[in-house]
Amino acid sequence: MNLFLETLIGGLLAGTMYSLVAIGFVLIYKASGVFNFAQGSMLLFAALTFVTLLEKGLPFAAALAVTIAILILGAILIERTVLRPLANRSPMTLFMATLGLSYVIEGAAQGLMGAQVHALDLGIEDVPIFIGDVLISQFDLVAAATAVTLALVLALLFNNTRIGISLRAVADDTRAALSIGINLNRIWQIVWAVAGIVGLVAGMLWGARQGIQFSLSLVVLKALPVLIIGGFTSIGGAIAGGLIVGAAENLAETYVGPYIGGGITPWFPYFLAIAFLYIRPAGLFGERALERV
């Protein structure tokens, strides 16, 4: 029973790390209908910039501020050079453009800042603690708290600020939003910048755990099943999806894995996602598309 609880809780907490990556996706998809495959490389770029600045001797807060400034500049640049010329193209074209974008960002990140592994110490001790009889990683707890806080902050921003409300308007009906004078290009810039910052947070947490290196951009592949289970358009869904994927993959690896050779975590979440989609084709919280002829 203890093993079960530990596996379950460990999985749930790890799942929030996936959610963090997935939230960045959801933000961009909601506001622009772009399936942003470059989220993983944005995460790598953000974390790498941050850690490089730290290693150059900048204090923590300054490094954070400079990184965020760079991310905002990057978002404006992406909007001008990629999104604006491709406005009104099919979602598939935009997806492929973000594939190209991920090459550019990865190339730039590693070309400018090198390919070696950087260690990042956030001052969180990775010592497991006992709660009752159950061993829990302290680091995972902090990560989970961060994810939840981030989701709450974003929800507050979306519901209570002018920018947040115009963002929801754009997501709901782009043309109507344009007609009442919402500056679409500005909204895209903001959303990409926010997604970049979310990526930075996720990158710092993932980076503190496994070192900041190229493989960081591959967490995007962990976030995709989370995304389809939760639905592309719901931040709450991203959290719920992350929890489901994290818990299920940990349980499956522990209890089913040994019988079929183990190492099933790369593909298990995808099968889980297909199973979920079979029941709800637009994810748990996704909006169902009406089809008219």
């Binding site: 998809y29 909601k30 209908g33 399936f35 050079t81 990629v82 010329p85 491709l86 193209r89 099919s90 979602p91 074209t93 997806f95 492929m96 453009a97 594939l99 190209g100 974008l101 991920s102 090459y103 550019v104 990865e106 190339g107 730039a108 590693q110 070309g111 090198g114 390919a115 997501a171 009906d173 782009t174 592949l221 995709l224 099943p225 995304l227 389809i228 592309f232 358009t233 050779g261 183990g262 190492g263 099933i264 790369p266 593909w267 995808y270 099968f271 996602a273 297909i274 989609l277 079979y278 084709p281 637009a282 994810g283 909006e287 169902r288 598309a289 009406l290 089809e291 008219r292 002829v293």
Partner: protein, 350 residues
């Protein structure tokens, strides 16, 4: 986002109008079968033309699924792996002669594709694309985890001791080129006819809008699943050719997710829903890195280290992809066609 999703169908790639090849096709075949082997060196045949042809074939496979039937997949690499490992299995465990083994492997891959195409009845668009990654990662795991698939070797690689077809040794560069070319020409011919048949027209109807297709009486689910099966057959054969005729010895790493992306890029750059586009896209994808390499060698040799060069190459590749999408969304095939039309009326009218 319903309005955005429903636009997918309307903005789907257009079909390039059919045109008569006239003398051009026989000339092209003559060039490929006679002139190229006479003039080309072993390096050109084995290291540039064979991979180019195999990639074209893989692109063709994905294009049937994505460009014609409208179902996006990121599992191409996984299906190529199935083809390669199944061929190996048939030859090593079953003692089947190579040509027959490749054919069987294609059929096995078609079966696998059919299986992974089953969810397409309820899952659509990006959701389907993401679920196709299930195939990619599952096959990567499968062929790494169970030593039976690579005949219990220590490194997990598959190699055929001797390449032989119908009693001939096809291990030389010229032999490998001829075999690849023959397979590719044959399968391309089948594909050209297939997309103009009722099956192909159903695929295009499904691609353009599956609800509408269902309304006019097309069996949508059947069309989709069939597209998955046919596409996977092509990818399986391409995987077998890639492993044994180009690489010589392959492992799961030869068919990773980057391969899936590469094949997707081929059809984007070449042109969705275009047969010729696959060849143009594959040529572009396989020649571009070489060109960048040569340019870099010429200009920066010694000044820049290899790691940085690789990253510059990567970034440049991304820029080119974005540029293509902005400037020529229908791919190079369309660009070439427009150029051809302008040239044919050039002196009289511009």
């Amino acid at each position: 986002m319903s309005h955005v999703l429903s636009q997918t169908a309307r903005l789907a790639p257009t079909v390039l109008p059919e045109r008569r090849f006239g003398l051009r096709l026989p000339l092209l075949l003559l060039l490929a079968f006679v002139a190229v082997p006479l003039l080309g060196s072993d390096y050109w045949l084995g290291a540039i033309l064979v991979p180019f042809l195999v990639l074209s074939l893989a692109g063709l496979g994905l294009n049937l699924l994505t460009g014609y039937a409208g179902q996006t997949s990121l599992g191409s690499g996984g299906f190529m792996a199935v083809g390669a490992f199944a061929t190996f299995g048939f030859v090593v465990h079953g003692g089947v002669p190579l040509p027959l083994a490749v054919l069987f492997a294609g059929l096995v891959t078609a079966g696998a594709g059919l299986l992974f195409g089953l969810p397409s009845d309820r899952i659509k668009g990006f959701y389907l694309m993401v679920s196709s990654l299930a195939a990619q990662f599952f096959f990567e795991w499968l062929f790494q985890k169970f030593p039976w698939f690579y005949n219990y070797g220590s490194s997990g690689t598959i190699t055929l001791p001797r390449l032989e077809a119908f009693g001939y040794d096809i291990g030389t560069a010229v032999g490998r080129y001829y075999v690849t070319l023959t397979v590719v020409v044959l399968l391309t011919w089948i594909a050209v006819n297939l997309v103009r048949s009722q099956t192909g027209r159903s695929w295009m109807a499904v691609r353009d809008m599956d609800t509408a297709a269902a309304v006019i009486g097309i069996r949508v689910y059947r069309s989709k699943v069939l597209a998955f099966a046919v596409s996977s057959f092509y990818l399986g054969v391409a995987g077998a050719l890639w492993a044994f005729l180009y690489l010589g010895s392959a492992s799961v790493q030869s068919f990773g997710i980057s391969r899936s992306f590469q094949i997707l890029f081929i059809i984007i750059i070449g042109g969705m829903g275009s047969i010729a586009g696959n060849f143009i896209g594959a040529a572009f994808i396989s020649l571009l890195p070489l060109a960048i390499d040569h340019l870099a060698q010429a200009f920066f040799a010694g000044h820049v280290d290899a790691g940085l060069l690789q990253n510059i190459q990567k970034a440049l590749f991304g820029v080119l992809i974005i540029g293509f999408l902005i400037k020529e969304p229908d791919g190079l095939a369309r660009l070439f066609r427009t150029l051809g039309e302008r040239l044919s009326s050039w002196p009289l009218r511009f």
